[in-house]
Symmetry: C2
């Protein structure tokens, strides 16, 4: 039986202690703890890495504080368009959706694309039709509504600005994305990512969360990675797969590979954000180049932590 | 002044001499020659790799024989939804669009996303709105119409089958995509890809042609790659960027890296298709694991060839 591990994130960016109230910090910590417990419980019972990342990501989607599923940000037309993806490191199977509305758990839809279609990426109305066919749970607009997100959007509505998460100040960036990477006791790994994208986003903008290789990647030979950050830069840097290549082709460890990608490759193109990852031996790492990243990790070797700031 | 090179493709798959008439073969060859000339003329005058791949891809989109732009296949609702992407190896800037209708040259829209927006990937109606804002040329349905593609679709309409290009026989696969990779005399490289996707496709399916890292990638340090094939497998294998990583991290040549990805990595997951690529020294390669690939190459060192079969 190998060591098993789960690591999760709830977004990265300019997350500063001085901007946080004790109540809000406790709420974020609780949201992360619930997601960690949801996934880790499965791993502990002998469940698969794939089921664990789905459970953890689903829990983060359900938490109104994080920009994914319930509590997603508003696009410029007032709708909530969500992206998600999942990849199984054992089979290299992957599924992803982009710009879907009313789907309660976009990561479940990504999983259904992976398992019930011959495709990897479905978008928009077509993805919603596919969801209906497979009885994926939908919710009315009210379910996704968060007064906080709505206020953010109202401040930006009618402008050409788009913000990557909570903030209207562009200098104060938060990249609202959630995700998880896990290694199970059988030595299989998986990763999943989900997001509501940018506040006031327009033109059908899609970030890295539904791009396999950029926001999500998993391969038992190397690593499982879920990213959060300035999506455009993560797409251009093919971020998640780059970590895998550095491990496979240069023999680097998970931590070394993630540090090169996050501190060097991404920084060179002003790519702010971070990632969580595991390898098939149960090692985990959480690396970011922003002020903070909502994150947590728990492993069978007794490491358990939840952190927000540097 | 460095050697300069252009290489193009018009799709790969079960392309057999016995299925071809002399007239059709001559028409395909003429289409490829025109695209090669359109791009190479620019390189010869000192133009950029980026301009050359755009010109070559635009020419292939305009040719009714290839499944991209004019002559795109029909989706299951009778519409023509197109995907395209472009990447500049000098700046690592990239642009892509998915599921756009009525855009005369989707590759030009991908270029406009790269240069006129802060985004990399725009999809559907949003991408079309962005196109209108930037006065990107549109055409009515009749422009894209090809009697041959329409007949294909009518044969499949109402079924749940989707074909990757011309054929209703699933055993006889053609992957209709066009693309180009170029190295200019300044040692800069670029790649572009465009497609109409699968005949009778549904559910908003998107393949690798609009996924940076999968269907298209360019980096002056390594290579510029444009792919054609079974898009789902190319996304899962992060095909184009894998060639780049094998060159950067293992020191392989362009030809060696492309052969590993196409013959080994892709074959292991039944990923049929191929790719064209260049490096920044003006070397070019065209590698495929299917029966044929419409392809061409021309370089300042006097190599010029157009081929269809193995």
């Amino acid at each position: 039986m190998a060591a098993y591990t789960l690591t999760i994130h709830g977004g990265a960016g300019t997350i500063l202690r001085e901007d946080m109230t004790p109540e809000l910090e406790a709420a974020y910590t609780r949201g992360l703890q619930e997601a960690l417990d949801a996934g880790y419980t499965l791993l502990d019972k002998g469940g698969t890495a794939l089921d664990a990342v789905l459970a953890a990501t689903r829990s983060l989607e359900d938490c109104i504080l994080f920009n994914a599923g319930r509590g997603s940000v508003f696009a410029n037309d007032g709708s909530q368009e969500m992206d998600a993806s999942v990849m199984d490191g054992k089979t290299l199977m992957a599924g992803a959706v982009a710009a879907v509305r009313h789907i309660r758990n976009p990561v479940d839809l990504a999983y259904t694309v992976m398992t019930q279609s011959q495709h990897v990426l479905l978008i928009g109305k077509g993805a919603e039709d596919f969801a209906a066919l497979h009885e994926i749970k939908t919710e009315p607009d009210e379910y996704f509504f968060s007064p906080f997100r709505y206020e953010q959007w109202k401040k930006m509505q009618g402008t050409n600005e788009a913000a990557l998460d909570h903030n209207v100040k562009v200098t104060d960036k938060k990249f609202g994305t959630v995700g998880a990477a896990a290694c199970d006791m059988h030595g299989n790994i998986a990763a999943a990512t989900s997001t509501g994208g940018m506040t006031n986003k327009q033109w059908g903008r899609v970030g890295d969360s539904s791009v396999i290789g950029a926001g999500t990647y998993a391969n038992n030979k190397t690593c499982a990675i879920s990213c959060t950050g300035h999506g455009e830069m993560f797409i251009r840097a093919v971020t998640a797969y780059d970590v895998s290549c550095l491990m496979e082709y240069k023999g680097l460890s998970l931590q070394e590979a993630m540090e090169i990608v996050v501190y060097d490759k991404l920084m060179k193109i002003d790519g702010e954000g971070g990632m969580v990852g595991v390898d098939a031996k149960g090692n985990a790492a959480m690396v970011f180049n922003s002020e903070g990243m909502y994150r947590g990790m728990r492993s069978s070797t007794k490491i358990s932590e939840i952190k927000i700031y540097k």
